[in-house]
Structure formats: C-alpha cells, structure tokens
Amino acid sequence: MDERPAGEVEVLMSRYQQADGEATATLIGRLSPQIFQFFLAQVRDRSLAEDLLQDFWLRVHKARHTFRTGEPLLPWMFAIARRTKVDQYRRNRNIKSHEFQVEQIPDVVSREPERKDTPALADLLETLPAAQRETIWLLKVSGLSLEEVARATGSSVGAVKQRAHRAYEKLRKIFGEQA
C-alpha cells in the first residue's frame, strides 16, 4: 500500500481550486488508483469502476469549493466517492434487479469452497455486509485513520471501531473455516 503523503494532496487540491491545470492532473494521478480500488472492491466490475471514477471526478470538480485549506482531503474525497457509489447502486437497482437475487442466494461461508490456502481478497470481502466491507477497505487498504473513516462515512469513531471489529471477527472466522 502506498504511503499517504502528509499534506501534499491537500496542497494540490488548493492549487486545483485556483485552476492550476498541472496540479489538477497530478492530483488525479495521485488519488485515482485509491479511489478506483475503492469502487472496484464495491462493484467488482472494472468497467463500471472506471465509469464511477469518472463520475466521481466530475462531482469533485463541482464540489471543489467545499474543500477548505487545513482540512484533511481524504475524508472529503471518500465522502464524495461513497455518494457516487450510492447513486450508482440506486441507478442500477431497477435495471439489474436480477443481480440482487443472485447476491442473496449464495453465501460464501456456507457453500462448498475450493480449497485454497489464501482466499482472494475480493471473495473474502464479499462475505461482509456492505458497511463493514467499506469500513475495512477504508481502514486497511486506503489507510485512513479511524477519525477520517468516521468523517468520510458520516458516523462516529465508536461506530467505525465496532464495524471494523465485527468485520475482522467475521474474516478470521471465514478464513479459519476455509484454511
């Protein structure tokens, strides 16, 4: 996982607000992989994740005046990313209702799994409820702090801790059963 540069992305964001094209391009290059992976983990479809990434950046562009210098950028970005994902989910809900049915039937925990020493990350995360999956992803993959995840998800630090704890417990249990 990449080390998050302290303050660098915030400086780029401030320059983006001042219409600095170079800073904007750099910011997109720096943050897109992280945001893309966040979408990919949720939707598990590369093409859709790239569409979401584009939609996300258009929203960032529209909302860029709401970022204030001195505030951390990642919670701000991920709050917008979450909203982008929620809207996509609702947009597709009616169109692809059959995907719901498929999602509800198989349970990775209960089905007969292929014996693997290490389960694929996506399969593992798929077994978690959406809120826990998102929390674990933001905490462990995107590298946000508890406070930043709380800000990005609009919940309390206590709630984030609880979700992360439950997700960890569940992942340990699943891994134990699969190993």
Binding site: M1, D2, Y16, Q17, Q18, A19, D20, G21, T24, A25, I28, G29, S32, P33, F36, Q37, A41, R46, A49, E50, L53, Q54, W57, L58, R59, H61, H65, T66, F67, R68, P72, L74, P75, W76, M77, A79, I80, R82, R83, V86, D87, R90, R91, T118, P119, L121, L124, L125, K140, V141, A150, R151, A152, G154, S155, Y168, L171, R172, F175, G176
Partner: protein, 233 residues
C-alpha cells in the same frame, strides 16, 4: 487468521490500477473546465448566517403580526421557551452546516437532534402552559398554522440558499434538517405573535408548523436523492 495475515491479504488488494487511457480522459475533461473557485467560508460564519436568517424571520413576523405572544408570557416562561428555541436553532444550524461539507466531522447527529427536539418541545408544554381547553380549537388554530407555515416557507427558502452553497452527500438528511429548522422558525415566530397560552393549541397548531416543515423537507430530500441517482443534479 492472524492480524498480520489479514493485513497482508488486504494490502494485496491494492494492485489493480485504473486504465491510463481513462485517466487521461478524466484529466482532459477536468482541466478543460478549470476556473478558480473560492472555498466556502468557515463553519462559524455559515452558522452565524443561518442564525441571522432565523432571527430575521422572527423580526419580520413580529413586524407583521405584533408581539402579543411575547407580552403574555411570564419572565420564567419567556426565558425557558425562547431559550429552548434559540438552543435548538443553534444546534440545527450546526447540523445543517455539517451536512453541506463532504467529510466534515459530525458533532450533531441529525437523528438524535430531530428526536431530541420533538421530545423537548412536547415536554415543555406541561411545564410552561397550564391552560387546557378545546374551545374554538380549529377556528383559532388554522390562522396560526397558516402564519407559522408561511414563516417556515420563508425560512425554508433561506435555508435552501445556505445548503445550495455546499455539496450534499446526504441530501435527505440535509433537507429534513433544513425543513425542521424552517419549521422551528415558524414556531418561534408564532410564540412571539400568538397570545394564546392554551396547551393543545400550541401543541397542535404551533408545533404542527415544525411537523409540516420536516415533512416538506423529507419530500424535497427524496426528490433530490432521486435526481442525484439519475445524474440530473
């Protein structure tokens, strides 16, 4: 599974980069639209603006309807009644401002605030108002509800001006809070204007303004959610 194994597994999930061609498209799209923007003012400033709007509505209401309500209240009633309104107005302003900044820390939980405000106002009635009568209940109540609703509508319009400055990641919550806050402005205006100290009258016709404001906010919030999901915002 050890924490170390889990961490390693999670770290492995960060290997998939987005398509470079798509990234180039995004860069081109955004850089072609660049214009300088000024960041929103600080939260204290936005909260002050919101409270100023609240006070403005109350002033306009008393200019139009007089201050019959203010004169009939005892000092104790005035302090408690308007103290609660002002406290709620401050909390609602904070909550609304926090809603319009993505990723802002949420010090005031919307659900708790709405539930707390409703319980507090209902609990105030038996403490402050002893009179209990249904005489001419509807005839005297409808004008109050109308007056309060007009004040709330003005408050809602001012609230809309405030929230449209931000970017909504939770439109439903923001709209419900704004509607309830606008309703609170209507209730406060009625408390200043209406001389009736009858508990059922205040509970139904005054506080009803807040219920209408909240319901209207919820409706508008749903429409905004729907439009955002369709990418029409």
């Amino acid at each position: 599974m050890s924490d170390e194994e889990l961490r390693r597994l999670l770290a492995e999930g960060t290997q998939v980069p987005p398509d470079e061609k798509r990234l180039a498209e995004i860069r081109a799209l955004l850089t072609s639209r660049l214009t300088p923007v000024r960041a929103l003012p600080s939260n204290p400033f936005l909260i002050t603006v919101s409270l100023a709007g609240f006070v403005l509505i109350c002033l306009l209401a008393t200019m139009y309807g007089g201050h019959g309500g203010w004169h009939v209240l005892s000092p104790f009633q005035s302090i408690v009644y308007f103290g609660v309104f002002l406290s709620l107005a401050i909390l609602f302003s904070i909550a609304i401002v926090e809603q319009v900044i993505p990723g802002a820390p949420r010090r005031v939980r919307p659900g708790w605030l709405l539930a707390g405000a409703a319980l507090l106002l209902v609990a105030l009635i038996p403490v402050l108002f002893e009179r209990f009568s249904f005489n001419r209940f509807v005839e005297s109540g409808i004008p109050c509800l109308e007056f309060g609703t007009v004040c709330a509508a003005i408050g809602g319009a001012l609230g809309f001006l405030l929230i449209r400055k931000g970017f909504l990641t939770t439109p439903l919550q923001a709209a419900v809070l704004t509607g309830c806050f606008a309703g609170l402005a209507g209730v406060t205006a009625l408390a200043l204007v209406c001389p009736q100290l009858n508990a059922p009258h205040i509970l139904v016709w005054h506080f009803g303004t807040m219920a209408i404001g909240t319901a209207a906010g919820a409706l508008i919030g749903q429409v905004v959610e729907w439009r955002m999901a369709r990418n029409e915002d």
